[in-house]
């Protein structure tokens, strides 16, 4: 973020589509230069939120305030829409050349030919598609088409760029390459952007802030690491890949440390808690250490459980090791560790994690 000036503010926004309320956002603000990743499962209202922000959906109620100026409710004015740009999941290119596609928004603004040529040429280079300028948009690969769509959006120098899952239709190499280039462009231009995505890696790589949506509502907003490590509820915890989620009861609390009873085992956690209170605890798989010998109990590694390996799942660069330690745990370890520990189903091991690696929230009813 270049500064903390609020560029866009939302107050009490509600949107109805097909007879049901799909969005209910009491407040949301976007700061100049910030990149926000909007995450959540399908049908949770991410795309509707972007369309509402872009002035392309009528609002049931609420205010959109852009640069301290309220935007008229309902379909927004051309003037407002021209300050934003939006990239959809599909490239939605026009049946003409790549150059003409990238120039489309500029021609709608009736800019001079010289300025159009300069801006289009610059954007084509920025997205590495200058060599495709004269090619028909119909002859592009998926990655090239989405690059053209992004170049078209950036060519208008928007104050806010809205990206609705721009990588979702791409194969992994194209996705990786375009993600890298987009990251670079966002950094170089200092653009203010909102990106919707399912992919945790995209949000971690591109976003300054992560906003989690559930059923049309924002359930958590924070830095990617805070959302990943301290989810607000079970829904967020599940969505951000917290595979170890348990319900337990606080046994005792003392001196900034409390213990929670889970399936007759006791887990020690850093923090304060009221005895007998029901809580949900979660631990990221990558925070669990698997060893074949009993690790020494250090000041922070307070939780050590003898376990049996029940399943090992290879996932490319790393593996998931499923453990039974009285309750089920999932640990993520590198393939190198998997080999050096010579793990296999039935192996007897120790699972350990720090008291600070456990995140706790009150049980939702």
């Amino acid at each position: 973020m270049s500064d903390s000036e609020s560029l866009l503010e939302i107050r009490n926004l509600t949107v109805v589509r097909g007879g049901s309320r799909v969005l209910e956002i009491p407040s949301f603000s976007l700061h100049r230069g910030e990149t926000v990743a909007l995450i959540g499962p399908n049908g949770t209202g991410k795309s509707s939120f972007l369309l509402a922000l872009a002035g392309l959906l009528p609002l049931e109620s609420g205010d959109i305030i852009f640069s301290q100026q309220p935007i008229v409710p309902g379909f927004a004015s051309t003037e407002y829409r021209r300050k934003l740009a939006m990239v959809f999941q599909e490239p939605l290119l026009f049946d003409t050349t790549v150059f003409e596609n990238v120039a489309a928004g500029l021609k709608l603004r009736r800019l001079s030919t010289r300025e159009i040529n300069e801006r289009v040429t610059s954007c084509l280079k920025r997205f590495r598609i200058a060599h495709l300028a004269d090619r028909s948009a119909r002859k592009l690969s998926g990655g090239e088409a989405q690059r053209t769509s992004l170049a078209r959006a950036f060519a208008t120098n928007p104050e806010i760029i809205l990206l609705d899952e721009p990588f979702v239709a791409l194969d992994p190499p194209a996705r990786q390459a375009l993600g890298d280039d987009l990251e670079l462009v966002l950094r170089e231009t200092g653009a203010t952007a909102i990106l919707t995505t399912h992919d945790q890696m995209d949000s971690l790589r591109l976003a300054d802030r992560m906003v989690v949506m559930e059923r049309g509502k924002i359930v958590q907003s924070g830095t990617p690491s805070s959302v990943h490590n301290s989810p607000a509820n079970e829904f967020v915890a599940t969505f951000v890949g917290m595979e170890n989620i348990f319900t337990g009861t606080i046994k005792e609390s003392d001196n900034g440390l409390f213990s929670v009873s889970v399936a007759d085992r006791t887990i020690e956690i850093m923090g304060e808690g009221a005895p007998m209170e029901s809580v949900v605890i979660c631990i990221r798989p990558e925070h669990i250490v698997v060893s074949v010998t009993n690790p020494e109990t250090t000041a922070s590694t307070r939780n050590i459980f003898p376990s049996t390996v029940t399943k090992i799942v290879q996932l490319g660069l790393y593996a998931k090791v499923y453990l039974d330690c009285g309750f089920s745990l999932v640990a993520a370890i590198t393939n190198q560790s998997l080999e050096s520990l010579a793990l296999q189903t039935g192996s007897q091991v120790f699972a350990s994690f720090k008291a600070t690696a456990v995140h706790v929230f009150r049980k939702s009813h």
């Binding site: 051309t78 829409r81 939006m86 599909e90 939605l92 928004g105 709608l108 603004r109 002859k139």
Partner: protein, 232 residues
């Protein structure tokens, strides 16, 4: 078959002998049908775009009416246009019955639902989010409509072909509102009917061939334009 080849020979001599009557009938056919097609495009394309993009109660009913209109029998159109243009009819003051203008009006009534119906289908066949993408690029409403029409230009050429094909070949409406008056409202189709009725099959075949060549030439021209634009 002799009659057929005689017809072709006759057509040859009528066309290349530059028969003034045949030439006049051919030119009037072209003038009436091209004008009617043009009017149908002017009315049908905006109407089709409106129906495709708007949302109002009864929209589906209106689209069903348009689709039904695509198969409107020319004689029915001819009957109602005649009633409207009749001296005591609501449009009788125009005094255009039995003139080429009446024929253009009747043919435009036939072609407009065809153009409208194909336009609705063409615009609705564009990607669902294209309209939103165009608006997100900063288009005004008029710019958005223009861009969508431009994107649907290939199927819209089919609308032109279908509209023109529908009117150049119709006879019922033209004969009813035009009256097949020699030198004034006689076109290729009405002349063919008349010559067949008189038993002049060779002339009728000649006129039919001219009509076929005419229809083919216009459609060939439009097809060439359409296929040149087609993505490969």
């Amino acid at each position: 078959m002799d009659l057929f080849f005689e017809g072709i020979r006759k057509a040859w001599s009528l066309i290349f002998g530059l028969d003034t009557e045949v030439l006049a009938v051919t030119l009037l056919s072209l003038e009436v049908s091209c004008s009617a097609t043009l009017f149908s495009l002017v009315i049908g394309i905006p109407a089709g775009v409106f129906l495709a993009l708007s949302d109002f109660p009864g929209r589906r009913f209106v689209i069903s009416l348009v689709n039904t209109g695509m198969g409107l029998p020319p004689v029915v159109v001819g009957l109602f246009v005649t009633l409207f243009l009749w001296r005591n009819g609501p449009l009788g003051f125009l005094e255009i019955l039995y003139t080429p203008s009446a024929m253009i009006l009747a043919q435009a009534v036939i072609a407009t639902p065809i153009v409208t119906g194909i336009t609705v289908a063409s615009i609705q066949n564009l990607p669902a989010n294209l309209k939103l993408q165009v608006m997100a690029l900063g288009a005004t409403r008029m710019q958005m409509v223009w861009l969508l029409i431009r994107e649907a230009r290939l199927p819209l050429l089919a609308a032109v072909m279908a509209g023109f094909g529908g009117v150049i070949s119709e006879v019922g409406a033209s004969i009813m509102v035009g009256g097949n008056i020699k030198g004034q409202t006689r076109v290729l189709t009405t002349a063919t009917v008349m010559e067949t009725g008189k038993g002049n099959f060779d002339v009728a075949i000649a006129l039919s061939l001219i009509l076929l060549v005419l229809a083919f030439s216009v459609n060939y021209l439009l097809t060439v334009i359409q296929q040149r634009e087609r993505p490969r």
